[in-house]
Symmetry: C2
Subunit: 374 residues, 2 copies
């Protein structure tokens, strides 16, 4: 979920950041009917293309991003494009599309509703993963991409990748789904607390905040809660332990006025605060809320009695990857999910990425991930 | 950390709630010099006694409570007193003392500083575990209790129990230390986020809030973050899964006004909200902050170069208990801590409580705990 530029915990990203061949907007010319019953009027999808579609149109790859990601996959997943890695700018045409609800170019709560001329704000509807995938399919149609040789993503990106194989079985050859399964009760709990942190910020104002006065503190707190779930206890212990904050604060000391309720921070607290501060400069609170719900509500089996009803039509080869230290989407849950799907007759395999980096490993340990994907 | 009356997740508590033989206040007649360098003027310790001290004065037991506990151990740990369990009202004289900093009778941030005549509020000093133990020793002196046949506690209670054996080796025969070790980086992170939730509530007002307008929402959020760490993912999954909130809310639905940013809650979210609401009616925000720091700063090895310097004088028999599903104080950390102490020549054993209840198991599964302690 962390973009490489703000990873201070993690392996250094070695590959240079790639510029896309094309970055632009696609506007659906009709309403997008949503699973929630509402419709989104002529939504925009912001997207980026790396490489070019070949004459046979059989080299298209779709990369799907996670909660706070953007269409610029070359910036946040550069190692995937390293020579001999997973994708090639010479041979592949890689498309990445910003999620609906986000604040990085696609229509989200901060966009103007063309029907009312007003910003959506808290009126922005619930967008499902399936809604996103249906809109993405229209975009790919417009690019002349009928079939994907590969769709891949981690976390929310993996939800989209799997949903592609369910919704458009004839359009996907292979899917790589990393660190994801329907959110567990613990995952739902973590998202609930993040939502509450934003809602509790008086500047949120029921979602109708002023652009110059967003609920920065609530968003920062939400991000900090999320950071706990993206990393692992082992990583925190190794990097921060019980060290005082590196700026010299004293966790055993008194406040400036001599009181003892707050005191100096430990290093882990300084790190989390830093992460929160950086995030509030780059993300929008309502967009965050919108995508939390996209994440919460994703469960392909919801409303179905048998897995075969849902997964039986998949024709793609699925590769699931669990991360050993992930406690947001535990590797066991990913493996069980893969087994459930495989039991319906789908070609599905499961691999485990051994890493101390927690859920974030697919971004923080890209070289390891590439090794596994090869 | 949860008192039985608010455990809705957990094994039913079978034993009747016990009334103490005596419940009252002890006031230190001098200043308590604190490790932080400040002093607490004539602090009050609120305490409860169950049973009676015998003529030989060799039947005294000290039970130490956790973050949000009280002196009324008979109310929150009744199974420990069940016939044939761990403690006996006929044979033992059980003392339990409310932590300094708490809001259940001992001097805390809500108390009046006798030197200024004003409520401490944010001027309340940092109280260490060691400060508590030194004050407790004076109270026991006043009761004529020189030696403890047993001191026991879970979580923060375990910190006090161990500190007793370090500070007063000649006064303790045996100590049972449950689900605790110095807080890890992940634990410090969880406490930091709880602290922030309270500090971010505009009603907190830098700790100078009005008694009738406390930072309820911030305290509730802190409690909810804590609840995640007191329970386990497995327990949440079993009890709540992805079920909609039992009051009939629809997590896939729109808000009342048709927006999609918030929506209906899942069952786990309803549970957490309920826990938060109950807690804000029973606890004080500044007291919570004070005790978080007591917890954060406890590390017997802090400032020492060798474990033997710290633990070498312990003469009590120590029994450590880790809880298999505890992720706030992982059983591995408890076991390693026990091993470190044992390596200094102390008589220490380690047992593991197998439970899905997480850190809270020592309160939620008392019958299991009793079985282990026998």
């Amino acid at each position: 979920m962390t973009e490489p530029r703000i990873v201070t915990v993690g392996a250094p990203v070695k590959a240079p950041v790639l510029a896309p061949t094309y970055e632009g907007d696609f506007v659906l010319d009709e309403h997008l009917l949503l699973e929630c019953g509402r419709a989104l009027a002529r939504p925009t999808l912001h997207y980026a293309v790396y490489g070019r579609l070949n004459a046979a149109r059989d080299n298209a790859v779709l990369v799907c991003h996670a909660l706070s990601g953007s269409a610029l996959v070359g910036s946040w997943w550069p190692e995937i494009f390293a020579p001999g890695a997973v994708l090639s700018l010479e041979q592949d045409c890689v498309v990445c599309i910003n999620l609906l609800g986000s604040c990085y170019g696609s229509t989200g709560p901060g966009s103007v509703d063309p029907e009312t001329g007003e910003t959506y704000g808290p009126d922005f509807p619930l967008i499902s993963i399936r809604d996103n995938v249906r809109a993405q399919a229209e975009l790919l149609d417009s690019l002349g991409i009928r079939r994907l040789r590969l769709v891949l993503g981690g976390s929310l990106g993996g939800m989209q990748a799997l949903e592609w194989t369910i919704l458009y079985p004839e359009r996907v050859e292979r899917a790589v789904i990393i660190g994801v399964a329907p959110l567990s009760a613990m995952g739902l709990a973590l998202n609930h607390l993040q939502r509450q942190a934003i809602q509790s910020d008086p500047d949120w104002g029921g979602g109708r905040y002023l652009p110059l006065r967003p609920p920065r503190r609530g968003l920062a707190q939400a991000r900090q809660i999320a950071m706990l779930s993206y990393k692992s206890a082992a990583l925190f212990e190794e990097r921060f332990g019980r060290n005082p904050n590196r700026n010299g604060e004293d966790p055993w000391g008194l406040d400036d006025h001599g009181g003892g309720l707050i005191g100096g921070r430990f290093d882990i607290a300084g790190y989390l605060d830093h992460q929160g501060e950086r995030f509030m400069d780059r993300f929008d609170a309502n967009a965050y809320l919108a995508i939390l719900r996209t994440m919460d509500t994703w469960d392909p089996l919801h409303g179905h009695s048998a897995p075969a009803e849902v997964f039986g039509r998949i024709s793609a080869q699925l590769s699931f990857i669990g991360i050993s230290s992930d406690w947001l989407f535990p590797s066991e849950a990913v493996r069980n999910f893969a087994c459930t799907i495989r039991a319906t007759g789908v070609r599905a395999d499961y691999q485990e990425m051994i890493s101390d980096h927690g859920h974030d490993a697919f971004l923080a340990e890209q070289i390891e991930l590439v090794r596994l994907l090869q």
